[in-house]
């Protein structure tokens, strides 16, 4: 396992989010019926997860991306949101594209998920949508989870790709075709076996409160709600 405690982790996918890409990312979740439906389901899962996490009032949205979940997070009137992302461009786009009423409740913070620029136990909940599926190596995932455990006081909500469904099975079959894989270029999204990731959650000091599937047995997306275990 790489020595993640001292060496900052930097993964290739985090470089691609420049300004242009960030804009494209913001638009991506707005066009097309399928996208809108998917976003609606994402929001539904997020709401359920937040309820299970006990309606936290200080939430660190990491990565916040283009602030896709900020309006949802701001639905709870008393909530304060820290929108954090590795890319300053992404945060600029988020600030530019969200309504003032929402922005009033958000503080932005440019930070890496592996070395969060916040003191220990400084937020109620870390809300991490669509980050962990970019991390293929178990050591990196554990490093991030340990960092999450350091910063959160109570809970963490994490979405990722898991196996045990039709899409993951199909993906695995496609990947066996090596020539196809070579054409796709570097791989930056990974399916993690549910058992493995659950073991990693426990190993890094979290208790699993529950999970929600995007479409059970079909889609790969799963949202886990974790609670910090121990003192």
């Amino acid at each position: 396992m790489p020595d993640t405690a001292t060496q900052p982790v930097k993964l290739p996918f985090s470089d691609k989010y420049d300004r242009q890409h960030a804009h494209a990312y913001f638009e991506k979740h707005r066009d097309g019926l399928a996208r809108r439906l998917s976003h609606w389901r994402d929001e539904q899962l997020a709401r359920k997860a937040l309820a299970l996490a006990g309606h936290p009032s200080l939430v660190l949205d990491l990565p916040s991306g283009a602030g896709r979940f900020w309006p949802l997070l701001a639905e709870q009137p008393n909530r304060v949101i820290i929108g954090a992302d590795n890319s300053a461009d992404m945060l600029d786009v988020a600030r530019a594209s969200q309504s003032p009423a929402v922005l009033e409740r958000v503080r932005t913070l440019q930070t890496s998920a592996f070395d969060i620029d916040l003191p220990d136990r400084s937020v109620d909940c870390i809300f991490s949508m669509r980050l962990m599926h970019h991390i293929g190596e178990s050591g990196h995932r554990l490093a991030m989870l340990r960092e999450f455990r350091r910063v959160t006081r109570d809970t963490a909500i994490i979405s990722l790709w898991v196996d045990g469904n039709y899409k993951a099975w199909k993906r695995q079959r496609l990947e066996q075709d090596r020539s196809r894989r070579a054409r796709r270029g570097i791989q930056n999204r990974f399916v993690v076996p549910a058992r493995t990731v659950e073991q990693e959650f426990r190993a890094s000091g979290f208790r699993i409160l529950g999970h929600y599937d995007f479409l059970p047995l079909y889609a790969m997306w799963r949202v886990y709600v974790l609670r910090r275990a121990g003192a």
């Binding site: 006990g54 309606h55 009032s57 200080l58 009137p77 008393n78 909530r79 304060v80 820290i82 503080r107 916040l118 003191p119 220990d120 136990r121 400084s122 937020v123 109620d124 006081r153 109570d154």
Partner: protein, 422 residues
């Protein structure tokens, strides 16, 4: 046992117990009441039946018996023809058993004859079993309903309390921008509790801020006069000092330098944990150690101690200079003060150092207290107010450095500092 359970489960247990006791009591009463009423009814109906039979016998008719009934008649005092298990009963209503069957027996003397009317209890027992079944189902249902109701009630009633207790755990560490708690709760007892937490935590935060501000203000204000003293000393030295004043002059210079260092340290500490010494000038361990070694050599010589600097392994890290200097200086000074003969050794390792002395050592009982402010050992010496080690501890805590005190074999003690948190 109850004390260890959560509030919600205590409510559920209370509900279930209450229902069990209530329903149990009612069940017992119902069963007893119904039984006594039944016996009374049986007694009445048997009596009426016997009246009927004797009337019919008086009229010379053959007695007509309903199913389940049996009649035996014999003259009083000559019951030889009666089955043995019946013959001994005196007049009245009796319950008895024969051949595993239960019977009600009514015995009555009339007109010199003793009548034995026997009713088998099959019907009666059947009714009794039905009653018992109904009552026990009722009991179980009542307990079940109480459990369900208790769980539901506990959830809704206790939910805000559970939520609040989760929210206030380690809340002092939450960022200052965290919203107040009270706004999320109704204006009831829980809401008031939340508001009380808000106030208390707010006051705590303010007090901490004030303390930090005070320390940094004082340190800032002291910096200028100290600078004036230091530069005046330099000027004086340039102008030349009389030989008889040199000793005093050097003491002034040294005290001034120490004070400047302390002020730097306090400023560094007052900047709060977020800064982690990032704005402070860095220096290497070897450089800081050598500086302190040179500084304390004269005093050690004066006390006839050997001050040694041992480098076991090199270290390449850079650490906030004023804080490292303060830790080193306090530990070395402490060691020199509490050692009467022998040596004080400063050992440098990769990622840390130790200060070892051949002094009296610190008794085990006192070791735990040495890092507390104003704690001084039994064998305390004249100068110092006992704040040095507590300051060292505070610096180490802030910088995530580890400090440990162990006894050295053959007397003396060792303060071991690890500058790299594992």
């Amino acid at each position: 046992m109850l004390r260890k359970q959560s509030l919600a489960s205590r409510i559920v247990v209370a509900f279930v117990l209450m229902a069990a006791v209530g329903a149990g009591m009612f069940s017992v009463i119902i069963i007893n009441m119904v039984e006594s009423v039944e016996i009374q009814l049986i007694s009445e109906s048997l009596n009426r039946h016997l009246d009927f039979i004797t009337d019919e016998a008086d009229q010379g008719l053959r007695p007509h018996l309903a199913p389940g009934l049996e009649l035996h008649v014999a003259p009083v005092g000559a019951t030889g023809s009666i089955p043995a298990w019946l013959a001994t009963f005196p007049p009245g209503l009796h319950e008895t058993e024969s051949d595993d069957e239960a019977y009600h027996v009514l015995v009555r003397d009339q007109g010199g004859q003793r009548y034995f009317l026997v009713l088998d209890q099959r019907d009666f027992e059947h009714r009794e079993a039905m009653l018992e079944l109904a009552v026990s189902i009722g009991f179980v249902l009542a307990v079940l309903a109480a459990w369900l109701l208790g769980t539901a009630l506990a959830r809704t009633v206790i939910a805000p309390v559970v939520r609040l207790s989760g929210q206030v755990q380690h809340r002092d560490q939450l960022l200052p921008l965290a919203p107040p708690l009270a706004a999320e709760y109704a204006d009831d007892e829980v809401g008031k509790l939340a508001a009380a937490f808000d106030t208390a935590l707010g006051q705590l935060r303010q007090a901490l801020e004030r303390e930090q501000l005070f320390t940094s203000d004082v340190s800032h204000e002291l910096r200028t006069p100290l600078m004036v003293i230091a530069s005046s000393c330099e000027l004086l030295q340039a102008q030349g000092i009389a030989a008889n004043q040199r000793a005093q002059f050097e003491r002034i210079t040294r005290a001034c330098a120490e004070m400047q260092e302390l002020v730097e340290t306090f400023l560094g500490l007052a900047r709060g944990p977020q800064a982690k010494g990032s704005q402070l000038a860095g220096c290497s361990l070897a450089k800081a150690a050598d500086e302190q070694f040179q500084r304390w050599l004269p005093e050690a010589a004066q006390r006839e101690l050997t001050l040694e600097l041992v480098t076991e392994a090199g270290d390449s890290g850079s650490y906030p200079a004023p804080l490292l200097r303060a830790v080193l200086a306090n530990l070395v000074r402490n060691a020199i003060h509490y050692t009467d003969r022998g040596f004080v050794r400063l050992v440098l390792r990769h990622g840390g150092f130790s200060v070892v002395d051949s002094g009296a050592g610190i008794p085990e009982a006192e070791r735990a207290h040495v890092f507390r402010p104003f704690a001084r050992g039994e064998a305390s010496r004249g100068d110092g107010i006992g704040i040095g080690l507590s300051l060292v501890k505070r610096i180490c805590d802030r910088q995530d450095w580890k400090i440990a005190l162990t006894a050295r074999e053959g007397g003396g003690c060792e303060f071991r500092v690890d500058l790299r948190a594992s």
